[in-house]
């Protein structure tokens, strides 16, 4: 049923992504691909994987943006930006689905696609503002992040492995998994303390996943940088003055 569940458990499983500590290493993306090509969404196919125009389905994409000028007026800042399904509370990708293949689980809020009933009409991907859904050309159905539903409840795994593959793989601890419906959970606390935000809240999809903003850069960092510049002005040793005169002469 593609209508949204009328009553939910209050549980909202999701991710909190720290844009301050993400280094853009792509480990989460690779780990996601590795796990999900054999899991619930298997296979995540590639077309022409070893050719010049390799393309294929990935459920997690890591972008890099430049923000300029920086908040301290000193050039810009690079922000690595992982992007995957936000498991929205108002997922229009689910309500537009004509077949009921897309659904939001009442028990934990995870948004899934049933690969056995998806007709591959692609309308859900048009309805998603976050580009979370990728069509599998070989399978003829839509694929998306499952929040590793086949790991997080999997009692065959060690307890520390019962979290999404991307979270487990992150070497800098930039990805956090938990219940964002519980105000006392570690992820909710993190969002509160760090000013976590929603992507494009104005669209009204009410994403569950949150992003933590880059921290303020260290005050005085610019002054320290200036100290490292070559001293080409002001008084200096006699030798320096000769070099400076030579520099000016050669510049003419």
């Amino acid at each position: 049923m593609t209508s949204l569940p009328e009553s939910s458990s209050g549980k909202k499983l999701g991710l909190v992504i720290d844009l301050d500590t993400c280094v853009g290493c792509q480990a989460c993306a690779v780990s996601c691909k590795e796990w999900n090509t054999t899991g619930h969404t298997a296979p995540l196919t590639d077309q022409n994987p070893y050719g010049a125009e390799a393309t294929g389905v990935w459920l997690n994409r890591i972008h890099s943006y430049e923000v300029s000028p920086g908040t301290h007026g000193s050039g810009g800042m690079t922000v690595n930006f992982p992007r995957s399904c936000l498991h929205c509370e108002e997922p229009e990708c689910v309500t537009v689905c004509p077949t009921g293949a897309s659904y939001k689980r009442a028990e934990d809020g995870i948004v899934l696609v049933n690969p056995d009933t998806c007709i591959g009409c692609k309308l859900c991907s048009w309805a998603c503002p976050y580009g979370a859904r990728e069509y599998d050309e070989d399978d003829g159905v839509m694929k998306k992040c499952t929040l590793c539903v086949d790991r997080i409840y999997n009692e065959n795994l060690e307890p520390e492995d019962r979290q999404p593959a991307c979270v487990r793989a992150c070497p800098t601890g930039a990805r956090h998994f938990g219940d964002l419906g519980d105000p006392e959970s570690a992820v909710s606390t993190l969002v509160r303390e760090r000013g976590g935000f929603d992507l494009m809240p104005g669209l009204g999809y009410r994403p569950v996943n949150k992003y933590l903003p880059p921290r303020e850069r260290r005050v005085g960092a610019d002054t320290e940088l200036a100290a490292l510049k070559p001293a080409d002005t002001g008084p200096g040793a006699a030798g320096d003055r000769v070099f400076r005169w030579l520099d000016r002469a050669l510049s003419r």
């Binding site: 972008h63 007709i119 591959g120 580009g131 990728e134």
Partner: protein
């Protein structure tokens, strides 16, 4: 947005087919045209042909056409599902009305009820088609109040042009029908101008700063692409071939879709009824179909999906 041929064909052909169905049913029920069985056969045959070809072409573009029947199940939430349900339901009264007309020459009594039901079903089906696009908040050029009225007007306009050609061919032309074509075409053109004005001067678009939530830190732009080759999201939502020709295509759409057919219709009004008038009316219908294809292609090419903001678009 990527304009799939199947979707362009579906919306233009089935639009014209439903438009023709609406006019055949309404004028047939009202007794304004005779219930000539050959005219009924040709008219409904063409209408059903257009609608069915459109539906089939959109079904075959699916990843799994054999599962298409599942698309009628989610009418509670999905405009696409509602469109499918209404399209199928409309076949029943339309088919019955056509049978009464063609086999018995009867368009009154209970047959008239079928005719009215078919016309209502056809209007609602096209309305759902428009709402599939208009309901998407991700594309500001589609999430626009002009979209669904335009789908309806253009369906009725192209249907009216085919209807006019048909009745003229059977010697049942009336200036009323040609003037109907002129009015609906003019309304459609005005609506199209309204739509273009609205998307050109509409509310401020979003930027990568909005998409990433980093706007308060400064101006955000793509520094490095997320992957080396284009992915599905870029191919489907980031498709923008023809966007740079939008102005030219608008002119072509206007000429072929509205101005030439209007001119041809006015010539028909000025003429004695006869073979020449029927040929001009047929030409008007054919040229307008070409114009509608251009208009529909442009509708996709001008649509900027917000997800492109993650991929280097400066606004969407």
């Amino acid at each position: 947005m990527h304009p799939a041929y199947s979707v362009l064909l579906f919306t233009t052909l089935s639009g014209a087919g439903y438009g023709l169905m609406i006019l055949l049913c309404l004028f047939g029920v009202a007794g304004v045209i005779s219930s000539d069985p050959v005219m009924g056969l040709l008219g409904f045959g063409f209408s059903f042909g257009l609608v069915t070809f459109g539906l089939m072409s959109s079904a075959f573009h699916l990843g799994h056409p054999e599962r298409a029947w599942r698309a009628v199940t989610q009418w509670r939430s999905s405009w696409l599902s509602r469109e499918g349900v209404l399209a199928l339901i409309t076949y029943v009264p339309a088919g019955l009305f056509a049978i009464g007309w063609i086999t018995m020459g009867d368009t009154s009594g209970v047959w008239a009820l079928f005719g009215v039901a078919a016309a209502v079903g056809a209007v609602l089906t096209v309305y759902c088609t428009g709402m599939i696009y208009q309901s998407l908040r991700t594309i500001s050029q589609w999430h626009n109040d002009w979209v669904t009225p335009i789908y309806l007007l253009l369906a009725i306009a192209t249907g009216a042009l085919w209807f006019n050609a048909l009745v003229l061919a059977f010697g049942e032309g009336r200036s009323l029908f040609t003037w109907l074509c002129v009015s609906v075409l003019s309304l459609g053109m005005v609506a199209k101008f309204g739509y273009w004005h609205s998307i050109d001067t509409g509310k401020a678009l979003r930027t990568p700063g909005h998409a990433t939530g980093l706007a308060r830190l400064g101006t955000v732009r793509q520094w490095e692409t997320a992957h080396t080759q284009a992915n599905y999201v870029q191919r489907e939502m980031g498709f923008q071939i023809a966007r740079k020709h939008a102005h030219k295509l608008r002119v072509y759409a206007l000429l072929a879709g509205f101005i030439v057919p209007l001119f041809l219709c006015l010539s028909v009004v000025a003429m004695e009824e006869g073979r020449a008038a029927a040929i001009l009316a047929f030409l008007a219908a054919a040229v307008s179909m070409l114009g509608m294809l251009i208009e529909r292609w442009l509708f996709f090419a001008e649509a900027q999906h917000v997800v492109t903001l993650y991929y280097g678009a400066e606004s969407a």
